[in-house]
């Protein structure tokens, strides 16, 4: 019998027989060499169900230890095809769709869309002042409720639980106002082409005044918890850095842009809805970091309250004015009154169309079944949403349905900054950076 040495498996004789092991050859030294140059590189998949990624955002992080070397975003998990769907509904029905895009700022989606439709119709200046002031008031309330979620969840994600409780308490008060005015707390479809769905109910202004007072008082709670809090500052200061050049090339707007010291706010720069007639300031910081953005949002709450107060004063003077354009070929025919069940019928309107006026019935029928025709053309309208520039690109082919509706959602655009903000930082800071962008996936994916 000839014996030979197996180069890959050494063997030794034992009382139990021959035992082979796999540690033969020069593998030992080879493995040591691999170990010497080994990199601890981990690809971590965060999301789409991670609680701190604001819904269904997926982040793919490449880590070297705890340091992030590469970040990628995966989006599209909440894509619902709203833009396509609106092409098969009339212009008024579009409101009900677009309000569901960025679900934390429904009034902004509706207003941006309606301003676009009105521009296409050429009735921008015919929208009544009362309707415009109510729009502004609702938008600013919405800014508060949206910022409350941004601040509350942002803090929660970094481990501060109490701010969330206070923030949602305040948000609840704002949603109560929404419910009182529109009948719904979210996705109201309240702003309509040509005006708003219905006028304020009886006693709304005094309730709103009361809410302003409560909110102003309660905002201090959150301020005390976080502003100047040393742990909060350590988690947010110098984190998620993005300077003006970065913001510009990435098209970033909103609080992130204002945290670079640039006071760019469309309400001041390119006023719409009569914002030039209101007194308010644009808070800025120049720290370019998460803490700066947090401070801006905090200060914007007070500015929104200031605007709402001015709206209430204006609305008192505009009591009884119409809230829809006079043109009966565009104005949604009924003035629904809010019943005990939230929404209701307008008995006066039914009496008119069924018993009194044939023309009113025809208008009602034509508008509700077909909708109004919008002249050929395309427009782009932009407003300042809580997250930045919310733009709407509308194309009409002259029919009763939109030819193309495109929303330039600020969350979609701003998420592109994730990599710039996170790479080179620590993994725990990703959460802070993303929270400071305040992305809402409903708006990102549409």
């Amino acid at each position: 019998m000839t014996t030979f040495t197996d180069p890959y498996a050494s063997s030794q004789e034992t009382t139990e027989g021959r035992v082979y092991s796999v540690t033969g050859g020069d593998w030992d030294s080879l493995v040591t060499e691999i170990g010497a140059t080994k990199e601890e590189r981990v690809v971590l998949n965060m999301g789409p169900q991670h609680p701190s990624t604001h819904g269904v955002l997926r982040l793919v992080l490449e880590l070297d230890g705890e340091t992030i070397t590469e970040t990628r975003c995966g989006i599209g998990y909440l894509h619902t095809g709203i833009e396509k769907n609106t092409e098969y509904r009339n212009w008024t029905q579009g409101v009900t769709f677009v309000t569901r895009m960025d679900y934390l700022s429904p009034i902004f989606n509706e207003t941006a869309y309606c301003l676009g439709v009105e521009k296409l119709l050429g009735i921008t200046n015919d929208v009544t002042e009362r309707a415009t002031v109510i729009r502004v008031m609702m938008m600013e309330f919405n800014r508060i409720s949206s910022h409350m979620v941004a601040l509350g969840t942002g803090a929660l994600e970094l481990g501060a639980l109490s701010p969330m409780i206070f923030a949602f308490r305040e948000r609840e008060k704002v949603l109560d106002v929404f419910e009182m005015v529109s009948g719904l707390r979210m996705n109201m479809a309240y702003v309509r082409p040509g005006g708003i769905a219905q006028d304020l109910p009886q006693g709304a202004l005094s309730k709103i005044r009361q809410t302003i007072k409560e909110l102003r008082h309660n905002f201090k709670d959150n301020e005390k918890l976080l502003v100047g809090n040393s742990i909060w500052i350590k988690r947010t200061q110098g984190i998620g850095y993005l300077d003006l050049a970065g913001c510009t090339t990435l098209g970033i707007t909103g609080p992130v842009l204002r945290s670079t010291g640039l006071a760019w706010d469309l309400r001041k720069a390119q006023p719409y809805c009569g914002y030039e007639n209101y007194q308010f300031d644009i808070p800025t910081t120049d720290s370019c970091d998460v803490y700066g953005r947090f401070l801006i949002r905090m200060q914007e709450l007070e500015q929104s309250l200031r605007i709402i107060e001015q709206c209430v004063t204006k609305l008192e003077k505009l009591e009884g004015e119409p809230v829809m354009v006079a043109d009966k070929k565009i104005a949604w025919p009924s003035q629904l009154s809010v019943g005990a069940d939230g929404m209701g019928n307008s008995l006066n309107h039914i009496r008119e169309i069924m018993g009194e006026s044939m023309e009113a019935l025809i208008h009602h029928f034509k508008l509700v079944t077909e909708g109004f025709r919008v002249p050929v053309g395309q427009v782009y309208t932009a407003i300042e949403s809580p997250r930045g520039e919310l733009g709407v690109h509308l194309v009409s082919d002259g029919g009763t349905r939109p030819y193309r509706v495109h929303f330039r959602d600020p969350s979609f655009n701003n998420l592109q900054a994730t990599a710039a903000m996170c790479e080179g930082g620590q993994i725990s800071d990703v959460i802070a950076a993303v929270a400071s962008l305040d992305p809402v996936m409903g708006g990102v994916d549409r």
Binding site: I75, G76, H79, G81, E83, K84, N85, E87, Y88, R89, K119, L120, G122, T248, T249, L250, G251, I252, T253, L262, W264, A269, Q270, K366, E370, G371, R373, V376, G377, Q378, V379, Y380, A382, E389, G391, H393, V395, S396, D397, G398, G399, T400, R401, Y403, R404, H406, R408, F412, N413, L415, Q416, D445, R446
Partner: protein, 209 residues
């Protein structure tokens, strides 16, 4: 402008249900100088900064207080760079697409909204390509923020942006067939039945023109 279908109804609105026979187009013509507002200034500045201006511009449209420059696709990148560097349109706010099957040879449009913070102005660029050769240059090198917008436009319309750093689908799944926002792509949906009556799916309902 709409051409009228078989009953010749005009203006009154056709409630016969034959509204689907009306052909429409979204062409609103060409605007000649003076454009009004700051638009002449923008055109002048661009002309001065870019010697090939007249060759690059297909047409100019001013409508509803907005300026649209139709750019030939081969010149898009140059024009974009000059608009950013010399006319200070620092931000490409977004890119939207549109599909006009009736415009044969230039069915697919990509629409760029540009914003100048320095000058507080907005303009719009529009580039048209055909379905068969749906290539146009990417402007990601000019505005990094155009990245996702171009991906979305590719995803929805199938416009291919050459030299894009990673042109993949962004909203739809990676292996999705077709381009959902094209007009020949069906909406889908099923009929709704309620107490024996059937309401057709949205895409099957009557359309009024």
């Amino acid at each position: 402008m709409s051409e009228n279908g078989m009953f010749g109804a005009k203006g009154s609105g056709d409630t016969s249900g034959f509204g689907g026979l009306v052909n429409t187009s979204t062409n609103i013509g060409v605007t000649q100088r003076p454009f009004g507002s700051y638009f002449d200034q923008v055109a002048d500045d661009l002309e001065r900064a870019y010697p090939l201006f007249s060759d690059a511009i297909e047409k100019v449209v001013v409508d509803r207080g907005e300026l649209t420059l139709f750019i030939k696709r081969d010149r898009l990148f140059d024009v974009a760079k000059i608009l950013r560097d010399q006319l200070k349109f620092e931000m490409c706010i977004g890119i939207s697409g549109a599909h006009y099957p009736s415009e044969v040879g230039r069915e697919l449009h990509s629409v760029y909204s540009l914003l100048s913070i320095t000058r507080n102005q907005r303009i719009r660029l529009e580039v048209c390509v055909s379905e068969k050769d749906s290539h146009m240059p990417s402007v990601v090198e000019v505005w990094a923020g155009a990245n996702w917008h171009e991906r979305e436009t590719y995803d929805m319309f199938g416009i291919i942006f050459d030299n894009h750093p990673g042109l993949t689908r962004i909203l739809m799944p990676d292996d999705w067939p077709g381009f959902p926002q094209r007009k020949d792509y069906p909406l889908g949906g099923i009929d709704i039945e309620y107490k024996g009556a059937t309401v057709p799916a949205p895409s099957q309902r009557r359309s009024y023109q």
